[in-house]
Amino acid sequence: MSTRLENMGRLVDRNQAVTFLFNGKTLQGLAGDTIASALLANDQLLVGRSFKYHRPRGVVASGAEEPNGLVNLGQDGHFEPNQRVTTTELYDGLQATSQNHWPTLEFDVGAINTYLARFLPAGFYYKMFIHPRPFWKYVYEPIIRKSAGLGKAPKDRDADTYEHFHAHIDVLIIGGGIAGLSSALAAAQTGARVMLMEQTAHWGGRAAVDAPQIEGMSAEAWIAQTVEALEAMPNVSLRLRTMGAGVYDHGYVLGYEKLTEHLGVSDGPRQRLWRIRAKQIITATGAIERPLSFAGNDIPGVLLASAVRDYAVNYGVSIGDRTVVVANNDDAYRTAITLCEAGLNVPAIIDVRPTSEGELPQQARDLGIRVLSGKGIAKVKGGKRVTSVVVCAQAGEGAALEEIACDCVAMSGGWSPVVHLWSHCGGKLIWDEAQAMFRPDPEQAPKGDQGQDFVTAVGTANGNLFTAEVLGDAFAAGLSAAQSAGAPKKGRAANAPQGNDAEEAALSPAWLMPQGASYELRAKAWLDFQNDVKVSDVQLAAQEGFESVEHAKRYTTLGMATDQGKLSNINGLAVLSKSLNSDIPDVGTTTFRPPYTPISMSSIAGVAQNDLFQPIQWTPMSEWHSENGADYEPVGHWRRPYAYLRDGETVHEAVNREVVNTRESLGLLDASTLGKLVVKGPDAGKFLDMMYTNMMSTLPIGKCRYGLMCTENGFLSDDGVVARIGEQEWLCHTTTGGAGRIHEWMEDWLQCEWWDWKVYVANVTEQLAQVAVVGPNARKLLEKLGGMDVSKEALPFMQWADGTLGGFDARAYRISFSGELSYEIAVPASQGRAFWDALLAAGEEFGVMPYGTEALHIMRAEKGFIMIGDETDGTVIPQDLNLQWALSKKKTDYLGKRAQERSHMADPNRWKLVGLETLDGSVLPDGAYAIADGDNDNAQRNTQGRVTSTYYSPTLNKGIAMGLVHRGPERMGEVLTFTNVDGEPIKAKIVDQVFYDKEGAKQNV
């Protein structure tokens, strides 16, 4: 059984017990434990079930590479699935449940799949479920979905907060082992801005466990001394629990910092996403030990040799009493030695190499450990935990030589440098034959904005497995990176720390154990523990023609689980290359993509959640709207009242009331959101003549003109009223959503095409609160407020004037989008609310009512006015909307003019705007199509028009609509049939688009 040792455990505090829940069971751990070490200390070896066969699985690793130990963590709003037990720090009250089993971890019905494994090889799903076609949707998929997936999706809204932080750094070092520390020392002495991040809660990495000598002291002492020295330097920032998640173009790096999650539910942000721009990046990300591929290598109790060592040294936890070490290298002997020193039994070290005579093997032999050279494991026996191993000759097919009883197997297939961050932004790899690993190719580093190399890999991440070369390599890289980043001082190379550790003999690659293993054995030799991919699956993929590593990956799902193949990729592609009779470097690796380990979606959102999810734009009058029943609709990022609901009213009733009241008496509209651009300069008139289809240069001062803007494609892009303010000054109104876009459009032409024209533009949209005062009593209201002359004579239709109204400085535009007598009054935004209140108070005697955007829409549709975004969709030209009158014939050029001369634009067969009236007075569905005879080439019904705006008109008491119809204006009176998703097609007659007050009598008073 696995248990807590009396000795060892450098990271745990034996005086501080921590209570936690696993699958509802209360367990005790120690402060400093991970969930994994605490579970193991409680003899909880079994942590989950595998994805496909539901095989019992235990912890394999001790770090970020762990494939099996995934749990549902936390409760309610703090719940998160797929949390790795090896990297989750224990805290008091932690609640975790294991995943992927039913009904319980110990007894899982799905485990039947393991007996069906022969019938569930790679590609099984693709082959089995392709026929008959309809079965997929109705039979297969619903069943498969029930049994698929890791963990549970959270049900509650995330209760935690998150944040971002932007940092600009000269030298960013990712990985706080001795390599990273050495690089940091070097870079820091140059005065460069240095940041060192470490994903775990501790500095020093593996060296603290393997304990080489550095600068004549223990590694642990050197690490502590170095961290202290770095902490004292103002140009160095040290961050624990911060993972380098991804390296991107131009030195952009994401760092993922855990702030409070190791404390449980607590105040403050849970995670911080560092958004870093680094001039130089050093990846000191270490290496990951590789498993060996033998039958039963997934049985709980089979762990990486380094992990067995870590659990003993760091946490004082033994996996078992009798540990068999199986390896192809010297380093794994450290595990055997460590276990012996802890007083545990190591019955044998099984070494695939014919001889093992190095320093470490000698030490092991001196401790009395039996070393079996040239041997391998034929299979591991056991169910929910290891009971014994069957030893065979590595060179053979697996014939049993002896069986050794044990409860733990520590395996080591050599080390793979963590090259992920090096590779994210284009760094290439070379195959190191001697060490059987892919390592960074310094000749092909990621390139930065000046074409410079901007990432350097150091230490074991660079394929240097020994302390002396790790320290020297990392220190030199730190110096050189600082210099490349333009550090103020030079720094001394001679200051590089010195270190030494045991001499090690070369490893011998062993991609399959034994090398001639039978199918029976290969079908139980796991490569990818999380996705249940075995040696036999990869061989099958090769046999079936999936020769590219990328294809084989997708066919078998090797490396596609949440661990992204940290343990399985190299072993998998070695098996693939062997099956294809080619060399490993010729097969190559799959692509390394960020993030290094999964990061939470919430950290990516940062502070942008709930009411900060996106910026909402409010007008100076919004508070009043909110207090008076406004039902908002989004218009761009603005919120505009759609209607103001009174007690007991439906939205529809409110809209109708607002329309009727405005038509009969007086309405107010908050029009502050309309874009307002000041265009000024000696060439402003000439410029506006290019921007608008109309002639704006001839507009007299004091007058207004409705204008259209088109893109160079000829399509209508915006509209609004333009007022001539002065000799060289115009004010252009845009649509609510259009202010920023049209401002940019104008600047584009002024800066990039006509840069010699003297014109300045300023966006003054938000400077002004604008209110449309609309209805037969509009003038009476303004006259009651008193001030400027708003009479028909003084301020005729389509003119503007400055003055005061009720004591407010105001500009009044006599314009109308409703067909009523109407003024739009602009006042400074700071006085907008006061002005609004004054209008409401003075308007009380006229029964004044504010109206929302829907009433605005209905009234403009009754008048046949177009709306950008309803009648236009980026394919509509002014001619389609019968707006020829707004296209200046006198001008030789305006934006869009040339395009409108193209044959397709001038084609009389275009769909053009008409009014539509249903025969029964009902309201046409929005977007409905007018059906034509016959079918098109795709066997869809032909169409001859579509509805662009449709409303119930309370003024006319029937449905009214506008639409684009094939040669529409020539077909007045014709009846068309429109599609209706919810029922029978609807018949509607083509009519004039102006439904109300055709003569304009109401607005011209």
Partner: protein, 189 residues
């Protein structure tokens, strides 16, 4: 007028770092030719401050000059002095090609002050705010979260932010949330 109110009417979120809307401020967007002596003179006359270099702001209290672009200055004056300033500008630049627009009410000014004010901004803006790089007098136009903003550092270590009025509420809450979340411990100054 006395009934004028700023976007957030002086709203304050007090804490280790305090976020406060500055109230009514006078702001004039002035576009023109920076090589014109008359242009520079009227700027310095109305603000009482020197004409700023590229990327700088010279501000003191509610008066100042901010470098917005190679042909745009943001002139800060008292809110009540805007109309008079505009008249003076018109007089001084008569005959020149320029544009002066009152944008006092189009903007909101928010002040962030306290020990880690710099970090509060660095949580939200992609600009380099390291003390080596961003000092009193520097002026930066960039983003805060998802909206445009401009800011400068005062001699006392407070950061003055200008954003659009319509998103003052968003910007304020963004800053208040970032201040409440506490220090990062990254900037040592």
């Amino acid at each position: 007028m006395s009934n004028a109110v700023s976007a957030l009417n002086g709203l304050t979120a007090a804490g280790d770092v305090t976020v406060k809307e500055a109230g009514l401020r006078g702001m004039i967007t002035l576009r023109g030719d920076f090589s014109s002596r008359k242009f520079k003179n009227i700027c310095t006359e109305l603000s009482g401050m020197g004409f700023p270099e590229q990327g700088k702001a010279n501000c003191d209290g509610d008066r100042g000059l901010c470098w917005m672009s190679p042909d745009e200055i943001l002139l800060l004056v008292a809110h009540d002095d805007v109309a008079e300033s505009l008249t003076k500008i018109e007089k001084a630049l008569k005959g020149q090609h320029y544009l002066a627009a009152n944008v006092s009410d189009a903007r909101a000014q928010i002040s962030v002050s306290g020990p880690f004010a710099r970090e509060v901004i660095a949580k939200l803006a992609p600009a380099d705010l390291h003390p080596d790089h961003f000092q009193p007098g520097d002026f930066r136009r960039t983003r805060l979260g998802q909206v445009a903003a401009a800011f400068w550092l005062t001699e006392t270590g407070a950061i003055e932010i200008i954003c659009f009025r319509s998103v003052a509420d968003y910007t304020f809450r963004l800053l208040a949330a970032s201040a409440k979340a506490g220090p990062v411990g990254y900037f040592t100054v």
